[in-house]
């Protein structure tokens, strides 16, 4: 094809042939980029192992959904849409940019498959894409520069503002768009002037605009602009590429890998070290993450990939109540540590402990493991496993807050965090009506179903009502059930998540043994934390269910008949416990049960389902005292409950009940909003006329 202007490859700049210059820029650019990436990979190579090379169909599905389709982006409307525009534009323009680079060397190059009609269509598409990206960049720049959403603020203790970096990168992207369009537009303008058939340029696109503006510019000037815009594009392109791995825009390169290798097992905690069995743990020199290199390579890739978008911290309940934790800065500070210890230029620095320098102990203890951060992260970064690994190292060093040492000591000695004697695990059964027999399962008496209340529900007087309600429901259904009684130990769910792995294993093994002895066929629990432990952390035990799953099954089979709404509540809202929802995806099960109660009106909180706001955490978190906290999570949540206008909130977790009840009382909402556990509500609505033991109806759910 005849060129209206001399292609950049064929002109000379300062006596250097364009082709040589283009080649030089490309070679230098690619070499620099290759070197930078190689250096950036060094810490990953030193990191702990992490098997992420399985289940590729799922991983590819994740890439299509979370990377290509940007599934999580629109959770933040404006930022999400802008990002999608820039992302899609980038994908389209990547082909154009690569073509451009090659054209500088081979002027006749056409991207494979993009000749003929496809090329024409692509040409139009990329013109509009470039325009859209430029507009998006301008909006984003204005937003960052002038409106400064709170989410992006950097508190002094965490480091410096990075607004300039964001705007600079937006400028680079904008520059690429402008130069590309200009390159194209000058050629079109020249073609038009020369009367040759102009290439199709999409109307109203940036290139089109340029071509119109440049319509009267003499050809020699167009020629200069044509060449200049080409080389500027070339230089900006490679500069941009090499600049990416120096900051949050590394994600442009790394996010696809981050998504491919993202964690696939919700609710599970990584083992102390991948590939080391429980029996071999004693051979390990150290547990957990003390130095940067103790993180797994994938966790380090997470740090590189963090976009600094602040969505995690924006959703973090600990951050919301002023605890010294911001997940965003866990990533950013770790990334900066990686950059600092493993610089692109210069020597690798010796390792130093992270705690007290990069991370603060209390930040790490402040996490309730609710998973809101992970749910929100658009690039699928993980936090909980990192928290647990950091805690493991602190446990190893003895750096455990005094407020946690007491319950941990009690768990070791008594198998519960309260230090209560084992026989008191049965106390809650005493106030049940006579006909509801709670048997103690063991080698002599072997009921088919085991009810596992776990520590809080067994010992806390208020929460014991959940156990009694559960027993009432099981009795109503004619279930052949019992409990482990004295032999039961704390499930250890939080013990593991607080980093005391060996204690967790001791508790787990004791429960496993007791369950084995009991001969039970299945386990039901009213505690989502226990449910998560039994299904994710335990092996070789009977299949476990949460009470809500059991109840829904029985409602669906007709075994449970519910009476119309008896409570005085006019409107009910449901609070998603973290270990029901985010960690186990049981969003609908409890809602269906509520909807099965005739006459119950249900409304949703703004933060519900996967964006539910943690009540304050369970297990050991009840004992932890953060050094700073402006208010309790339960109080914040209580206000969210009140906003719905509901006068009854239902949850299905003992810790949610405790924390929210506390939150309601201490934020002056007592009398306006009540809280009940799902089991309590169901137990009170059992239609005893449809069963054989109506006398039990009188005595159920009487205690509050």
């Amino acid at each position: 094809m005849e060129h209206a202007l001399i292609p950049p490859a064929e002109i000379a700049i300062l006596g250097i042939p364009g082709m040589v210059l283009a080649l030089l820029i490309s070679v230098v650019g690619i070499a620099a980029f290759g070197y930078i990436i190689a250096r950036r990979l060094i810490p990953l190579a030193k990191g702990a192992s992490d098997p992420r090379f399985d289940r590729f169909p799922t991983r590819i599905k994740n890439v299509l959904l979370y990377w290509l389709a940007q599934y999580k982006q629109p959770r933040y409307r404006l930022a999400g849409i802008l990002h999608i525009v820039i992302f899609i534009g980038f994908l389209i323009l990547a082909i154009r940019s690569i073509s451009l680079v090659i054209i500088g060397i081979y002027p006749e190059f056409v991207f494979p498959g993009l000749d003929g009609t496809a090329g024409t269509i692509y040409g139009v598409l990329k013109d509009y894409a470039a325009t859209a990206v430029l507009i998006a960049c301008v909006i984003a720049g204005v937003r960052r520069g002038f409106f400064k959403p709170d989410r992006y603020k950097v508190p002094a203790k965490y480091g410096k503002e990075h607004t300039w970096e964001a705007i600079f990168v937006l400028g680079l992207i904008g520059g690429l768009m402008v130069f590309e369009s200009l390159f194209e537009a000058t050629a079109v303008a020249a073609q038009v002037q020369q009367g040759a058939g102009a290439e199709l340029i999409a109307p109203l696109s940036l290139g089109w605009l340029f071509s119109v503006v440049l319509g009267q510019v003499p050809v020699p000037a167009l020629q200069s602009m044509h060449a200049a815009s080409y080389f500027l594009h070339d230089i900006v392109f490679f500069f941009f590429l090499c600049y990416l791995p120096f900051g949050k825009h590394f994600h442009v390169i790394s996010s696809i890998f981050n998504v491919i290798f993202s964690k696939l097992d919700r609710g599970r905690i990584k083992p102390v070290q991948w590939g080391v069995s429980d029996e071999e743990l004693d051979n390990l020199d150290a547990f957990g993450v003390r130095y940067l290199e103790d993180f797994t390579w994938k966790h380090m890739l997470d740090f590189y990939t963090c976009v600094d978008c602040g969505r995690c911290s924006d959703n973090c309940p600990a951050n919301a109540v002023g605890r010294p934790l911001s997940p965003r800065f866990i990533s950013i500070k770790a990334r900066d540590e990686m950059f600092d210890r493993f610089p692109v230029l210069g020597e690798i620095k010796p390792r130093e402990p992270l705690m007290g320098r990069v991370f603060e102990e209390d930040a790490i203890w402040s996490c309730t493991t609710c998973g809101a951060c992970e749910e929100e992260c658009p690039v699928m970064n993980e936090y909980i496993d990192k928290m647990v690994d950091l805690r493991r190292a602190m446990v190893e060093e003895g750096q455990v807050p005094q407020s946690l040492q007491k319950p941990l000591g009690a768990l070791e000695k008594r198998g519960n965090p309260y230090g209560k004697t084992e026989k008191k695990r049965l106390e809650w059964t005493q106030s049940l009506p006579e006909e509801i027999q709670v048997r103690v399962a063991g080698s002599k008496d072997q009921p088919a179903t085991l009810y596992f209340p776990d520590s809080a529900t067994s010992f806390d007087e208020r929460l014991q009502d959940i156990a009694r309600s559960s027993a009432t429901i099981l009795h109503y259904c004619g279930e052949d059930f019992g409990i482990l009684g004295k032999a039961e130990r704390d499930s250890g769910h939080e013990v593991r998540r607080f980093g005391e792995e060996m204690l967790f294993q001791t508790l787990r093994d004791a429960n496993t043994q007791a369950m084995d002895k009991s001969g039970a066929q299945r386990v039901v629990t009213s505690d989502p934390h226990a449910y998560n432990a039994l299904t994710k952390d335990y092996e070789n035990i009977p299949p476990a269910q949460h009470m809500s799953q059991y109840i829904l099954e029985k409602i669906q089979s007709g075994a449970i008949k519910l009476r119309p709404m008896q409570e005085e509540a006019s409107v009910v809202t449901y609070h998603d416990p973290c270990y029901m929802g985010r960690h186990n995806l049981l969003y609908d099960t409890p809602r269906r049960i509520l909807d099965a109660i005739p006459g119950l009106t249900r409304v949703e909180m703004e933060r519900s389902r996967d964006s539910s706001f943690c009540c304050g955490g369970g297990g050991l978190m009840l004992f932890y005292e953060p050094p700073e906290e402006e208010e309790r999570m339960g109080q914040k949540r209580a206000r969210m409950i009140a906003e719905t206008g509901a006068d009854l909130v239902v949850s299905c977790c003992p810790f949610c009940l405790t924390n929210l009840e506390d939150g309601i009382k201490t934020s002056g909402m007592e009398g306006k909003v009540r809280i009940m556990d799902l089991t309590e509500l169901v137990a009170r609505h059992l239609d005893w006329d449809q069963t054989e033991s109506p006398e039990a109806a009188e005595s159920t759910g009487s205690s509050t």
Binding site: S403, R462, L622, K665, T666
Partner: protein
């Protein structure tokens, strides 16, 4: 033969401490005929005044007057006591932070038996003293037999024995020259006062503890007045701290402080075990709660079913009247 009983008397600003009035009663319980000698260490006019005060309680007062004793240092006093006391003496001292410093070593140096923190006496049978102590932070009581034949050093808990009315006209003897040199490996430097406003509820004997029943921050004053009248301090349960009405350091419970008071007055506290888990040492628990079925009544010794906001001011008034 009556035993030689000595009582170590603590004093401050020229007046003897309350323990002085109680130790003589302890001595009388051991031996009604005992000629009890008060032992006072100190210096100058302050000591002189304290000795006069002691002489109104004890028939005999020994004083050791040295500049070095102007602040009591058990390490300086102990060797001087050894010089002064007969081998088979029975020495009584208060079980407090000074007594804990003094008495165990004194018993060794005198080659005597040692019983600390005595809370009761069942009399003396021959050479055997029958005493009552507590163990496990007051959770159980024990009967203890102590052989007095080679002398004994006994430290006594404050506030459990009755106080003497006084009315003695005792003689003060200056034993300074018999007490020998004052020398020790420990030198007193200073007393650092606790920060103002900082109250350590874990060390208090009387706690007026408030819960949700206080209803409003302004009502805390009601509890404060009652605590002052009783000579105690105000502590609270979690909701009060959550509401930011009181500092975390005032919170009793498993997530707060563990307290070991003698008296625990729970006002408007329901008595969850998280709260009661912080109450140790088997105190005398009084519960005031308008809800008669509040669990606090199961753990309390005495209950009052009333609104604490109405009851507390009446109680304060009565205490001031009847004190």
């Amino acid at each position: 033969m009556s035993r030689q009983i000595f009582a170590y008397i603590e004093h401050n600003d020229g007046a003897v401490e309350d323990s002085a009035f109680e130790l003589i009663k302890v001595a009388e319980q051991m031996d009604p005929q005992a000629q009890v000698t008060a032992l006072l260490f100190g210096s100058g006019q302050e000591l002189e005044d304290a000795c006069q005060h002691a002489a109104s309680i004890y028939p005999q007062v020994w004083k050791v007057d040295k500049q070095e004793h102007s602040y009591p240092n058990a390490e300086l006093i102990r060797p001087q006591l050894v010089n002064l006391l007969p081998a088979d003496a029975v020495v009584l001292a208060p079980f407090d932070t000074f007594g804990m410093d003094l008495t165990p070593g004194l018993a060794i140096k005198l080659d005597s038996a040692h019983v600390s923190d005595i809370v009761g006496l069942d009399g003396v049978d021959g050479d055997t003293l029958k005493a009552v102590r507590q163990e496990y932070g007051g959770q159980v009581h024990t009967h203890v037999h102590c052989d007095l034949s080679g002398g004994a050093v006994l430290s006594v808990r404050g506030g459990v024995f009755p106080a003497s009315e006084g009315g003695q006209e005792g003689q003060v003897a200056d034993k300074t020259s018999d007490a020998g040199e004052v020398q020790a490996g420990r030198r007193f430097l200073e007393v650092r006062e606790a920060e103002v406003g900082e109250v350590d509820i874990t060390k208090e004997d009387i706690l007026v503890s408030i819960g949700r029943g206080i209803e409003e921050e302004d009502n805390i004053e009601i509890a404060q007045e009652l605590a002052e009248a009783m000579g105690g301090v105000v502590s609270c349960s979690r909701p009060v701290v959550d509401a930011k009405w009181m500092e975390k350091s005032r919170q009793v419970g498993t997530s707060g402080m563990t307290v070991k008071p003698k008296i625990y007055l729970a006002m408007g506290i329901s008595g969850s075990f998280q709260h009661m888990g912080g109450v140790k040492g088997n105190p005398f628990i009084v519960a005031v709660n308008k809800n008669a079925s509040a669990p606090i009544f199961q753990v309390a010794h005495v209950g009052v079913v009333e609104d604490m906001l109405e009851f507390a001011p009446v109680l304060t008034e009565k205490i001031q009247e009847m004190k």
